[in-house]
Symmetry: C3
Subunit: 246 residues, 3 copies
C-alpha cells in the first residue's frame, strides 16, 4: 500500500535526477522513504537516489515497488507549479494513481521483472573534493566546448578539470582555498566522458555542495543532498581507460 | 469605407482566436462591429467571433468585407507591444492599408469569392457548465498526454473530462461546487477530438469564464467573451461518434 | 605581446558585430586599440570595427594580429554574465589564452595568411540620415516580412524604407522632424538586400544613433558607436543594381 504526497518541486528534482541516466525506473518505497537505483543502458553511469519520508508532505507506506516511466511523471509535473501538491497512490496491483489539483492520472506500472536495479559498487576512493554545484556545471560545460573526454586530476593542493581538443584546450584549476574541501592521499588522474557528465548540470545548478571522489582509473563518485539533507544522490561513472593498441 | 484603429492586444486576440481554425478569413465590418465566421478545412470546428465597435479605439465604417491572411496580420502585430495602436483602412477596392507606428503595410485582400463563411448551426444543447478558461486549458493539456479522444460527461452534480490511452488514463472531475455554473436536464456523454481542443488553450488562458455546452453525440459549443464583454466568441466542434464496424 | 581584459559585455558586442558578416576574423591589436576589418564571402558586406584601448579594463599590447573563430569566442562569452571579466593573452606564437573566472581556454589562432582583411572603400556619399538603432531594426524586420529587396530613398524632407512583394508592400517614412538628422544634396534612391541588413537588428537594438549614408546606386554605409564612443563600427553594403536583361 502506497499513499504519498509531495510538493511538485520535490518530484521534479527526483524525476530530473533519474532522467540523467534512464527513461524507466523502479521506485522502491518503504516505511522510511524512497530508494531508486538505476544504471544507464551502456552500464557506464549509475544513480542511487534516497529520499527520506520526511521530505514528503504525507507518507503512508507499506513496502511497494513501482515501475515508472520518467516521461509520464514529468508530464504530470509539467502541469503544476513548484508549490502544487502531487499525490501518488498504489495498492500493489492495478494502476498507479497520481493526482495534481483536479487532475487524476492513472498509469499501469511497468513490469518490475524488466527493471533490474543494479548492484552498486562499494568503492573506497582515495581522493575527493567538495565544490559548489553551479561551478562544477559551468566547468563541465566549458570543457564540453572543446572535446568529450575530460581528465580530472588531483593532489593535495589542487583539483584540475582538463580537456584537449585538436586545436583547443580548456583547463579549470581549483586551488586548495577555492574548494569547500579536498582530501587526497596520493596524486591521481583519470578520464571520464563528458557526454555523461554534462547532463548533470541541470540538477547541479541549485546544489550548494557536491563531493566528487575518484582515483587513478577508478570510477568517479559524486554525492550531493537536497531538501535539507533528506534527499541524497550518489552518481557513479565508469572511467574511460585508454587501452593500448587504440 | 473602413477606417478603424485598435490596441495591438485586441487585434492579437482576434488573430489568435481565428487562427485556431483557419489561415484565411473574411472580416465583415459593419456599422456596429466586426463579425467573423470560419470553419476549418475538415469542417469539424467553427468559430463565430463578434467584436462590438466600442472595443476599438476608433471606428469609421460603412459595410466592408475584407479577406485577410492571419499570418500577415500576425506579422504586423509581432512588431508592436500590447499598447501600440494599429490602424486598418480599406476603401472597398485596392489594398488594405495597415499601420503600426512608422510602419505602413499594404496588402491585397484575398478574393472574397474563395472565402465562404459557414452557416452556423442553431443548436439547442441540453447541458452546459461554466468554468475558468485556464482550468479548462490545463485539463485539455493533461488529457492530451494520454490520448486524442476526450469523453465529456455531465449530470446535475458534476462535469467530467476523461481520456483513456492504452496504459494510462486521465480524469478530471469538477463537482457542482467547483464550477461557476452547471445546467443539465438529463445526463449526457459525448466524444471530441483533443487535436481541435488543445489549441484553444492559448486563447483560454486569460479568460475568466468559458461556458461549454454539449449533449449526447451533439456538437460541442464553447462561449466566452473578452474586452469587458464587447468581444464574444462561439466555438463549435463536431462530436466524434464511434461507428459500428470500427 | 598581448595581455588585455574586458567586460564580457564588450566582447559580446564585438563578437556579435563581426558575426554579422564572417565566422573568422583577424583581430589587429595595437598600442591604441583593436581594429577588425572583415568582408563576407560574397564580398557584398563589410565591417570595420575599431575599439579604443580605454574601452577595455586593462590593455598591455605591442602590435599583434590574431586570427579568431567567432564561434569559439562566443562559446567562452556564453559561460559568463555581462559584468564578468574575460582576459586574452598571446605571445605572438603558440596559442591564444583566454580566461573567464576559473576557466582557462587555450586556442590555436587561425593562420593569418588565410585571413585577408579587405581594403575598405573610401566613399563620399551624398546623403545621410541619423536614427535610433531600434527603430531601424524594426523597420528592416517589417520590410523583410514582404520581400528581400529594400529600396531606400531620401530627399531633404524625408527618408523612406520601402519593399514591394507580389501582393504586399511595406513603407516606412521618417519625416525631417522624426530623425536625429538628415543631410541630402540631391534626392537619391537605391536598393539593398535585406538578407544582409536584418541580422544587424540584434546589434542595433541597443544603439542610440545610427547614421545611414547612401547615394543613387552607391554602397550603403552605416556608422554607429558604443561604449561611450570608444567603440565605432562602419558597415558597408553593396547596392543591388537591377541590370537590364535580367
Amino acid at each position: 500500500m502506497l499513499n504519498v504526497t509531495a510538493r511538485q518541486e520535490l518530484l521534479s528534482r527526483i524525476a530530473d535526477t533519474i532522467s540523467i541516466v534512464v527513461e524507466e525506473a523502479r521506485f522502491d518505497f518503504s516505511e522510511n522513504g524512497l530508494n531508486v537505483r538505476v544504471v544507464d543502458p551502456s552500464h557506464v553511469a549509475m544513480v542511487k537516489l534516497d529520499v527520506d519520508a520526511v521530505a514528503f508532505e504525507t507518507w503512508e507506506v507499506e513496502e511497494a515497488m513501482v515501475g515508472l516511466e520518467m516521461k509520464k511523471l514529468k508530464e504530470l509535473i509539467s502541469l503544476g507549479g513548484a508549490d502544487d501538491i502531487i499525490s501518488m497512490t498504489y495498492d500493489g496491483k492495478g494502476d498507479v494513481l497520481m493526482n495534481l489539483g483536479k487532475i487524476d492520472r492513472s498509469s499501469r506500472p511497468l513490469d518490475n521483472n524488466t527493471l533490474n536495479p543494479p548492484n552498486l559498487p562499494n568503492l573506497d576512493l582515495p581522493c575527493s573534493v567538495t565544490i559548489r554545484g553551479s561551478e562544477l556545471a559551468q566547468a563541465f560545460r566549458a570543457a564540453r566546448q572543446v572535446g568529450d573526454l575530460v581528465t580530472l586530476s588531483i593532489d593535495q593542493e589542487k583539483f584540475t578539470i582538463h580537456v584537449s581538443g585538436p586545436n583547443d584546450s580548456v583547463t579549470v584549476v581549483y586551488g586548495h582555498d577555492e574548494l569547500q574541501g579536498i582530501t587526497c592521499e596520493s596524486p591521481a588522474k583519470s578520464q571520464y566522458s563528458l557526454t555523461y557528465l554534462v547532463p548533470l548540470g541541470k540538477v547541479f545548478s541549485s546544489i550548494e555542495s557536491v563531493t566528487i571522489a575518484f582515483g587513478e582509473n577508478f570510477p568517479l563518485a559524486m554525492d550531493f543532498t537536497f531538501s535539507d539533507g533528506s534527499g541524497s544522490v550518489k552518481y557513479f561513472l565508469a572511467p574511460r581507460v585508454e587501452q593500448e593498441g587504440y
